[in-house]
């Protein structure tokens, strides 16, 4: 009785928040409703006794994926009036895609039958295992190749994301920590002797860096390799 009640509460909130995801006007609210949806899905897993999956759903989707969603959506500056402009133009395409999906769903559901209780073939694992251990025994033995294939797909996606975002830009100063640690005082500073009464600024100060930033800059970073500018600065110093 209690379990059923909990199930219906979770399921109702899940459906409600899922519908709010697509109907909320503010995208940040939509993402927050998505997170609520994930939570209730985790709750449903708990009711079904799959506590490992429930925790994984919360850690992976709520704790990492949705955070990045929210991160991006918060930084978007969305103008709602402009968002509606293209509605008429894109409506036919949207309807086409929606229609295809609907047809597929209808086809899938018309052939789908709920298995009567007890017919669902349980996986052959030793009794008395916690469901984490049971999942591990199945994944790392019977389905190890599929599991590794999943890993490879994720690896490819990761490499793709890095390739897309990695750009060798000329701006921004990069820090080479090894190089910073390796330098000594003799390399970086020189003591300038100054006759009495001379202007400090014309002589370049007492203890000044040897050479300019442009000479010691990491190649490719901002300001590296600008000889003319260096020349003038040296003269001025």
């Amino acid at each position: 009785m209690m379990a059923q009640l909990v199930f219906y509460v979770f399921a109702a909130v899940l459906l409600l928040s899922a519908s709010m995801v697509i109907s909320a006007r503010n995208p940040v609210h939509a993402v927050l409703f998505l997170i609520l949806g994930f939570f209730n899905a985790a709750g449903l897993f708990l009711v079904a006794g799959a506590e490992f999956l429930a925790m994984l759903l919360v850690i992976v989707y709520v704790g990492a994926v949705a955070v990045l969603f929210l991160f991006v959506v918060m930084m978007l500056d969305i103008d709602f009036s402009r968002l509606r402009e293209g509605f008429q133009r894109y409506a036919p395409l949207g309807l086409c895609i929606g229609g295809v999906l609907l047809a597929e769903l209808v086809m899938a559901f018309s052939n789908w039958r709920m298995a009567p209780a007890g017919v669902v073939a349980p996986l052959a694992v030793q009794p008395g295992l916690t469901n984490t251990a049971a999942l591990g025994t199945v994944i790392y033995t019977h389905y190890v190749l599929l599991f590794q294939a999943c890993g490879l797909v994720l690896l490819v996606a990761m490499i793709g994301a890095i390739v897309l975002t990695l750009r060798e830009t000329a701006t921004g100063r990069r820090q080479n920590i090894g190089r910073q640690h390796a330098r000594t005082r003799e390399e970086t500073l020189e003591l300038v002797n100054l006759p009495l009464g001379e202007n400090v600024f014309e002589q370049g100060g007492f203890l000044r860096p040897k050479g300019s930033y442009y000479e010691i800059a990491v190649p490719g970073s901002y300001g590296a390799g600008e000889p003319e500018k260096t020349e003038t600065e040296e003269k001025g110093a």
Partner: protein, 343 residues
Amino acid sequence: MAYFFYQTLVGQILLMLLETLAVLVPLLIGVAYLTLMERKVMAAMQRRRGPNVNGAFGLLQAFADAIKMIVKETVIPAGANRVLFLFAPFLTFSLAMAAWAVIPTGNGLAVANINVGILYLLAMSSLGVYGMLIAGWASNSRYAFLGGLRSAAQMVSYEVSIGLVIVSVLLAVGSLNLNDIVLAQRHIWFCVPMFPMFIVFFISALAETNRAPFDLPEGESELVAGFFVEYSSLAFGLFFLGEYANMILMSSMVSILFLGGWLPPLGIAPLTWIPGPLWLIFKILFCLFVFIWVRATFPRYRYDQLMRLGWKVFLPFSLLWMIGTAGFLMATGLLPHMGGVNS
């Protein structure tokens, strides 16, 4: 009496409430005295006296602060998203409290001794970022928003290495249950064979709780106070309580994963007379002291250095250590068999 508490529905609910209170009341008192401990310890390190006016040795200082905070006016900035603005501190606080449900203070002595305890802790600590992110966004302020974004990036980055460190501990334990993790350290605490991971976990815990030297989300020199600039009164108080409760939680995670939880150090006579919960409290206090010590000692990291440390140093190192642990356990045949709960 026993029948009422264990067999009837009302009794079970009442028992659950009592158990929850038994954890939360000491926790909140602990938070109050942690603030005092922080100020006293920092004062001692900087050769000052610290709070010493309210009560003997300033023992009532925390309560004076609390009363001051409560009677202040709650200010909600114009243009803020009211609902989310008030929801954020509530979320931070309740998550910090909820995580305590699974912490075992003795053999089997937890409100909920669940199979996936460590995953539950990881889930709750990874949810903590929402409080800051939502607070930063709902405040409608530049400083708060930047603080929120910083905290999101920082916490997601350091969770990865925390996860990998936990995996290498779990490889040696063979169970996700916190009770089993402590019992697996009967012979030797994990901080001895896994000392580098202990350090990595501790530093990641500092980053995860936004403590110095990783307190960039609230870096007062550049962001005023970060994500909670706009908060005042009780809403600020909830953030404050949540943050300190998270510090205690992280310290207890360090104690459970690496310092043997409630187990006495050597398992010999005079040390075993002290009850388990007290040992856990000693270990938590030790970790908290180091938290404060670090704060009094180190300057704040720059943000790119923080990211570099997380992704380029800790992540590869903990991944390598995890593979090494798995290989070592497999080669020596020490790999624990799939144990049941509390076996």
